[in-house]
C-alpha cells in the first residue's frame, strides 16, 4: 500500500540527485533496534529517497539512516543520522546496486527543525563563502596597499609579496571564468592504456570500471601493460581479460619503466585518442565521453581530467591532500586552461591525441636530463611535448578518483619525485612558454620562481627575527592564513563540508615542511629512484 502525504508531494517537488550512497539502516521497531542492516540510497531529494535494503520493512515504520560523512550532502546537509519513514514499497528493477538487492522502499525524511536548519545552512554556504571571499580579497588588497606604499623600503620582499598575492588571487578569479568543453557528442576512437607494476590490489577494479564506462564499446580499446610485475598483477589482468575479452595485455618480462609501458601502449593503440589511466585511479561511467569532447578542437593536443581523492577521510594527511587536489585541479588547472596552457596533465587520467604524440614518442621515451635518462615525471614531460605546439586544456567534468598516500613516508617520496620532474620540465618549458598568452606565460614563470623564493621569505619573516630576539612577522603569518583561507573557501563552496579547514593546515604544512623539499629535489635531481611503492 502506498502512503501518499503532503510531505510526499513536497518531496517530489524538490530536486533529485541520481546518486547511489551507502547507508546503514537501524529499525525503530523494538524487536530490531540492536541490529544494523546495510543499504543503499538512490534517487534522493531533500524530501526522501529510494532505499535498497536486504530486509523487509513495514510500511509506516520509522527507521534511522546512518550515513558516512560527505554522503549526498545535498540531500542530508551533512547530517550523520536521518530519521525516515517507510511510505511505500517499490519493486526493485536494479539488482546490481552495490551488491544489495532484496527490497526497495520509498522513504520520506523527517523534516524536523534540525534537518531544516541543516538544509538552510547548507543552502546558505555559497552565499557565506561569496561574502567571506569578497571580504578576504578586500582584506588582501588592503594589506597589499601597505606593500605598495612602502615598496622601496624593501623592494624585493614587497615585490614578492605583491606578486604572489596577485598570482594566488588570479588563479581563483580566472577559475571563476573557466567552463569545461561543451558536450558536442564527439566520439572518436579511444584507446585506454593502463601501465603498471605490482598493482594487484587495484588493477582489476581499474580495468572493470573502464569497461563499465558508457562510451560506445566499438570505439573503445583497452590495453593493459604489465611492467615486469613481481606480484599477481599479470594474473589479475588475465582475470579481467576473461571478464572483458576486448582487453589487450602487453607483458614486459622485466621492468622497463612506466614511460616504456605508456609508449608500448601508444604504439599498439588503434584509437585516435590515447587515454592514460593510473592503476589506482577509477573512472566514472561518463568520464571517457566527457574527456574526449575537448578534442573536437584540432588544436587541442591533450586534455587533463579532474581527480578526486578516493581515500579522503582516512587521516589528516589524506584530508589535506583532498583539499589540495581540488585546488590544484579546479582552481590552478582551470586557470591555466583558460589560456589552453595546462602545465601538467596528471598521470591518474589524461588524454592525448595520438597523431601528435607519435612524432615525439621516441624523443620522449629517450629523454635525458643532465646526462641521465628521465625515468619519472612522464605525465608532465608528455604534457610539455604537447604544450610546445598545441593547446592543452582541463575538463572539470571528466572525473576520476584516485588513491593518495596515507603515510608520510610514501607521501614525501611521491612529492620528491614530483618536485624533481617539476624542476626538469619547468626548465624545459621556460624555453617556449613565453609564446603562450602573456597571462599564462608570466604566471608560469612566477610559478617557477615562487617555490624557490617562498621558503627564503618564510625564513626571513619568521625564523630570522627569532634569531635576533625579535618577534616573527605577524603580518606575514596573517597574510599566509588569509591566502590559504581564500583557497580553501573554494573547496567549501563546492563541497560544503568540514574538510575545507584542512586546506589551511596544508598551507602551513607546505610552508614549514614541504617547501624545503624543493631544494633537496634540486640537489638530487639527477637521481632517478621512483617512490610511491
Amino acid at each position: 500500500m502506498e502512503v501518499s502525504t503532503v510531505a510526499t508531494e513536497e518531496r517530489r517537488a524538490n530536486p533529485r540527485l541520481d546518486a547511489i550512497s551507502q547507508a546503514r539502516v537501524q529499525r525503530r521497531n523494538p524487536l530490531f533496534t540492536t541490529r544494523i542492516w546495510h543499504g543503499a540510497l538512490r534517487n534522493g531529494s531533500r524530501g526522501g529517497a529510494c532505499l535498497h535494503v536486504n530486509t523487509p520493512l513495514d510500511l509506516g515504520e520509522w527507521i534511522d539512516l546512518k550515513l558516512d560523512p560527505g554522503v549526498i550532502p545535498f540531500v542530508t546537509a551533512g547530517q550523520a543520522t536521518i530519521e525516515a519513514r517507510v511510505v511505500r514499497q517499490i519493486a526493485s528493477s536494479d539488482p546490481a546496486v552495490h551488491g544489495v538487492s532484496s527490497y526497495t522502499f520509498g522513504v520520506e525524511f523527517k523534516r524536523n527543525i534540525k534537518l531544516r536548519l541543516a538544509h538552510a545552512w547548507y543552502r546558505s554556504i555559497p552565499w557565506l563563502v561569496t561574502a567571506l571571499f569578497i571580504a578576504g580579497v578586500v582584506n588582501v588588497g588592503y594589506l597589499k596597499s601597505f606593500n605598495l606604499d612602502s615598496f622601496w623600503y624593501q623592494p624585493l620582499l614587497n615585490f614578492y609579496s605583491i606578486l604572489i598575492s596577485i598570482f594566488i588571487l588570479s588563479r581563483v578569479l580566472l577559475a571563476l571564468f573557466y567552463r569545461p568543453p561543451k558536450n558536442l557528442g564527439y566520439q572518436p576512437a579511444v584507446t585506454a592504456i593502463i601501465a603498471c607494476k605490482n598493482e594487484e590490489d587495484s588493477i582489476a577494479k581499474t580495468i572493470d570500471v573502464i569497461f563499465n564506462s558508457d562510451y560506445p564499446r566499438e570505439r573503445l580499446e583497452v590495453i593493459a601493460v604489465n611492467d615486469g610485475s613481481t606480484d599477481r598483477t599479470l594474473e589479475e589482468m588475465r582475470a579481467a581479460q576473461r571478464r572483458n575479452p576486448q582487453l589487450k595485455i602487453i607483458d614486459f618480462k622485466k621492468n622497463l619503466g612506466k614511460r616504456h609501458g605508456m609508449a608500448a601502449g601508444a604504439q599498439a593503440a588503434k584509437g585516435e585518442i590515447l587515454v592514460y589511466i593510473d592503476s589506482d585511479s577509477f573512472v566514472q561511467p561518463d568520464t571517457i565521453h566527457k574527456l574526449v569532447q575537448g578534442f573536437a578542437d584540432r588544436d587541442v593536443g591533450a586534455v587533463c581530467c579532474h581527480a578526486h581523492v578516493q581515500n579522503a577521510r582516512t587521516n589528516l594527511l589524506t584530508k589535506m591532500q583532498e583539499v589540495r587536489y581540488y585546488i590544484a585541479f579546479r582552481i590552478v588547472k582551470a586557470a591555466e586552461s583558460i589560456f589552453s596552457s595546462v602545465s601538467c596533465c596528471s598521470g591518474c587520467l589524461a588524454a592525448y591525441r595520438k597523431e601528435y604524440v607519435m612524432p615525439v614518442l621516441d624523443h620522449w621515451l629517450n629523454q635525458t636530463f643532465l646526462g641521465e635518462i628521465a625515468t619519472f615525471g612522464d605525465d608532465r614531460s608528455l604534457t610539455n611535448y604537447m604544450l610546445r605546439r598545441y593547446r592543452v586544456i582541463y575538463d572539470s567534468e571528466a572525473v576520476c578518483t584516485t588513491i593518495v598516500p596515507e603515510t608520510y613516508h610514501v607521501f614525501f617520496r611521491q612529492q620528491l619525485r614530483w618536485k624533481k620532474s617539476w624542476i626538469r620540465e619547468s626548465l624545459i618549458a621556460c624555453t617556449f612558454i613565453w609564446r603562450k598568452h602573456p597571462t599564462a606565460a608570466i604566471s608560469y614563470y612566477l610559478g617557477v620562481l615562487f617555490p624557490f623564493v617562498g621558503p627564503l621569505v618564510v625564513l626571513n619573516a619568521l625564523a630570522v627575527p627569532l634569531l635576533g630576539a625579535a618577534s616573527p612577522s605577524l603580518s606575514y603569518l596573517y597574510g599566509a592564513i588569509l591566502m590559504s583561507f581564500l583557497y580553501s573557501l573554494a573547496y567549501l563552496a563546492r563541497f560544503r563540508n568540514t574538510l575545507w579547514i584542512y586546506g589551511v593546515y596544508f598551507t602551513f604544512f607546505y610552508m614549514f615542511v614541504l617547501a624545503w623539499q624543493t631544494f633537496y629535489a634540486l640537489l638530487t635531481v639527477r637521481r632517478n629512484h621512483w617512490g610511491t611503492r
Binding site: W152, P359, H363, R388, R389, I428, T439
Partner: protein, 632 residues
C-alpha cells in the same frame, strides 16, 4: 636538456596569444607612463613679485614636529594645522621655498609681503600624509626636514627616497637636511654617559679619552657630508642647501663656545642656510643666513595666538600701545591686567617683549615692585646670544649692570648702591643709545655718564626673575618702550674744545660719532688721517659708536667692485662700522651692492651708515628711517 629543433618539436605561437602579447605590452607601457605622470604631477604655487616691496620684508619661519592624524596633546594634529594655516593665510602670509629664501639672502631677490617658510621636521611619514593634502588645498609650499640615517635604516615611519623625489617634483615641497646621525646620542664619558651628537665630545673607548677638537670637527663634518652625499645620490634634479638643527639651539645644549663654533663652521661650509630655534621666528635681510630663526609651533599655541604673536613680532614694539604689546613667557607664569604685568614662579620666571629686536636704540620705563628673589631687565643678542642686564637681589643693597658672554661668563660693568624695598614701588628708566646705557632709578640718574657696553645691535628685551631655591614675584606697572632714531654726530678731523663740549651736552641724544678718516681713491682705500685717540676716549666715555667717515666721489674714478672691496676693508678695520659719504652720481647698481655690504656688516655686528646727500636714493641717519637698520 637540449632539444633539437625538428618540426614536431619546434614551439609555435597561436595568433590569439601573439595579439594578446601586443596588447599586454601596449597596456603596460601606457599604464606605466600614466602612473609616472600622475605620481609626479606638479602643482603650481603662487608666483613671486617682480620687484621688492618698499619695506624690507620680515621673514617668518615656523617649524612643526610630527603632524598627527588625531590630537594627542603633544603634537599638532592635521585639523589643528589646517586652522593655523587658514589663519596665517587670512592674515596675509604667503609661503616661500628654501630656494627663494636662499636667493633672497645671497642674490638679494625679492620676496612677497609677509613671507612665510613652513618647516616640518624629522621627515615622518605621518606628517607627509597629513600635510601634503593641505598644501595641495592651499597651493602652499613647505619644507620637510630629513635625517638620512632613517632612510638608510629603511624605517617605514619615515618618508623614503621614492616619495621624497615625488615630493620635490611636485613643486610643493623642499627638503631641509637635519644631518645623518645627529639625533642619536653618543657615549660622552668613561661612565657610558650619553651626550648630544652635535654638542658633546665622543668618548673613544679604544684610547680611553674624549675626542680631540679636530676629531670632533671631523666627525661633524663627516656626518654632514654623508647626509649631503645621500641626498645627491638619491634625489634627482634637487640640491639640498639648508640645514635645520634637530635640537633647536646649540647654546642650549652646551656652553662650550669652541664646540659650537666648530659645528657652526661645519654647517656653514656645507649649507647656504641654517635654522635655529627662536621665540618669534623673525628674520630680515640683516639676519645671518647661517642663523635664521624659526618658531616651534606646538598645540598649545592656537591659531589666533599664533597670528597675534607673529603680527606683534613683525612690528617694532614702539609702534604698539602697552596693552597691545606681546610678551612671550619663558619659565614661570606671566600675567597681565591692563597696564600691569606680573611675573612669578619657582625658582624663576621670565618674559620677553615681541618686536623689541627691531630697535637698536630705545628707552624703557617701568614701575617695578620686587616681592621676592632678584630681578633683571635683560637684553639678549639675537645672533650671538650675548647678554647685558640690569637688576639686583632683594635685600642685597646694590643694583648691578652686568654683561654675559657666549660662554656664560658674567662680568659686572657697574655697581650701584641702591636698596630695593619690597613694600615700595620703584621707577626704573634705561636708555640704550649706541654703545651706552643710561640708567635712572626712582627718577634719579645712577651715573653721570653712560656705561659703555659692547653689545649686539639687535637684542631681545625681557624681564627675568629668579630666587635660587624659593619663589619669585615681580610686579611691573606702566611699562613703556620708546624707540630712538640712530643719530650720528659729525665731528671735524681736529675738533675744537667747543665742538666737543657741544657734543657732550647732546650726549644722551647721540648714538654715534663720525669724523673724516678715509676716501676711496682710484679704487683703493686711502686713509687720510688716523683715528685720533680722543675720539676713542669720547666714544667710551659717553657710550657712542665710533663710525669713521669714508668718502666716495665720482671724480675718483673707481669701479663698483673696487668701491665695494674698499668699503669691506674699511668695515673690517673699524670698530663699530663706517659712515659713508658719497655723491649723487652713484647708480642703481652700486646702490644694490652697498645694501649687500650693509647686510654683511650687520652680520659682523657692525654698521654701514649713509650720510644725507641731495638726490640720494638711500635713507640717512638724520632722517626718520622707514626701516631702522637702513640708517646704518
Amino acid at each position: 636538456m637540449y632539444i633539437p629543433e625538428t618540426e614536431a618539436l619546434r614551439p609555435r605561437s597561436f595568433r590569439r596569444d601573439s595579439v594578446a602579447w601586443l596588447l599586454f605590452i601596449v597596456m603596460t607601457v601606457v599604464a606605466g607612463l600614466s602612473w609616472y605622470k600622475f605620481s609626479h604631477r606638479v602643482y603650481a604655487i603662487s608666483a613671486l613679485p617682480a620687484a621688492a616691496d618698499t619695506a624690507t620684508p620680515r621673514i617668518t619661519i615656523l617649524s612643526f614636529d610630527r603632524i598627527v592624524s588625531e590630537p594627542d596633546g603633544a603634537h599638532v594634529s592635521k585639523e589643528q594645522l589646517r586652522e593655523r594655516l587658514s589663519a596665517l593665510r587670512a592674515d596675509g602670509f604667503t609661503t616661500i621655498s628654501v630656494a627663494q629664501l636662499e636667493a633672497f639672502y645671497h642674490d638679494a631677490r625679492p620676496l612677497p609681503e609677509k613671507p612665510l617658510l613652513l618647516l616640518f621636521e624629522h621627515g615622518y611619514m605621518e606628517t607627509y600624509r597629513n600635510v601634503d593634502p593641505l598644501l595641495r588645498d592651499f597651493g602652499w609650499h613647505a619644507s620637510l626636514g630629513v635625517q638620512t640615517r632613517r632612510l638608510q635604516d629603511r624605517d617605514t615611519a619615515f618618508v623614503y627616497w621614492d616619495r621624497l623625489q615625488r615630493m620635490v617634483d611636485s613643486g610643493l615641497w623642499d627638503i631641509v637636511a637635519q644631518g645623518h646621525r645627529t639625533d642619536q646620542p653618543i657615549v660622552a664619558g668613561s661612565n657610558a654617559s650619553l651626550g648630544n651628537f652635535l654638542a658633546s665630545r665622543a668618548w673613544l673607548e679604544n684610547t680611553r679619552r674624549l675626542e680631540s677638537t679636530s676629531e670632533f670637527s671631523n666627525r661633524i663634518d663627516e656626518d654632514l657630508a654623508t647626509s649631503l652625499e645621500s641626498f645627491a645620490n638619491n634625489l634627482e634634479r634637487y640640491h639640498v642647501s639648508a640645514f635645520s638643527y634637530p635640537f633647536g639651539k646649540l647654546d642650549h645644549l652646551t656652553d662650550d663656545v669652541n664646540l659650537r663654533s666648530l659645528v657652526e663652521t661645519a654647517v656653514s661650509h656645507h649649507f647656504k642656510l641654517s635654522l635655529v630655534d627662536d621665540l618669534f621666528g623673525m628674520n630680515d635681510e640683516f639676519s645671518s643666513p647661517q642663523h635664521l630663526k624659526r618658531l616651534r609651533v606646538t598645540p598649545a599655541l592656537s591659531a589666533t595666538e599664533l597670528t597675534g604673536r607673529l603680527d606683534r613680532a613683525l612690528h617694532s614694539s614702539a609702534s604698539l600701545a602697552a596693552e597691545q604689546q606681546s610678551w612671550i613667557t619663558g619659565s614661570g607664569q606671566f600675567e597681565r591686567h591692563g597696564t600691569s604685568l606680573s611675573l612669578h614662579g619657582s625658582p624663576s620666571a621670565e618674559a620677553w617683549l615681541a618686536g623689541s629686536p627691531w630697535e637698536s636704540d630705545w628707552k624703557v620705563q617701568a614701575d617695578i615692585s620686587l616681592q621676592q628673589g632678584e630681578f633683571w631687565l635683560v637684553s639678549t643678542g639675537v645672533e650671538s646670544r650675548t647678554q647685558w642686564r640690569f637688576g639686583g637681589r632683594h635685600g642685597s643693597g646694590t643694583l648691578q649692570l652686568q654683561s654675559i658672554d657666549t660662554s656664560r661668563n658674567t662680568t659686572t660693568l657697574a655697581t650701584f648702591p641702591v636698596v630695593i624695598d619690597a613694600t615700595e614701588t620703584h621707577h626704573l628708566a634705561i636708555t640704550k643709545r649706541g654703545a651706552g646705557v643710561w640708567i635712572e632709578w626712582d627718577h634719579a640718574p645712577l651715573t653721570q655718564r653712560p656705561v659703555y657696553i659692547a653689545a649686539e645691535t639687535r637684542s631681545l628685551l625681557g624681564w627675568k626673575t629668579s630666587a635660587g631655591t624659593g619663589s619669585v614675584e615681580l610686579h611691573i606697572d606702566h611699562f613703556a618702550f620708546t624707540a630712538y632714531p640712530y643719530t650720528v654726530a659729525e665731528l671735524s678731523n681736529d675738533p675744537s674744545s667747543a665742538e666737543i663740549q657741544d657734543l657732550i651736552v647732546r650726549a644722551p641724544l647721540v648714538a654715534a660719532i663720525t669724523f673724516p678718516w678715509a676716501s676711496i681713491d682710484t679704487g683703493k682705500l686711502k686713509t687720510e688721517a688716523p683715528v685720533d685717540v680722543v675720539f676713542d676716549i669720547l666714544a667710551r666715555r659717553y657710550g657712542w659708536d665710533l663710525l669713521p667717515t669714508v668718502s666716495v666721489f665720482e671724480s675718483h674714478r673707481a669701479t663698483r667692485e673696487q668701491i665695494i672691496n674698499a668699503l669691506q676693508t674699511a668695515i673690517v678695520q673699524s670698530k663699530h662700522g663706517i659712515f659713508l659719504r658719497a655723491d649723487s652720481s652713484l647708480n642703481d647698481e652700486l646702490a644694490a651692492s652697498i645694501q649687500a655690504t650693509q647686510r654683511q656688516a650687520a652680520r659682523q655686528n657692525k654698521r654701514l651708515v649713509l650720510a644725507a646727500q641731495p638726490n640720494r636714493q638711500f635713507n640717512t641717519a638724520s632722517a626718520a628711517p622707514q626701516s631702522p637698520l637702513l640708517s646704518r
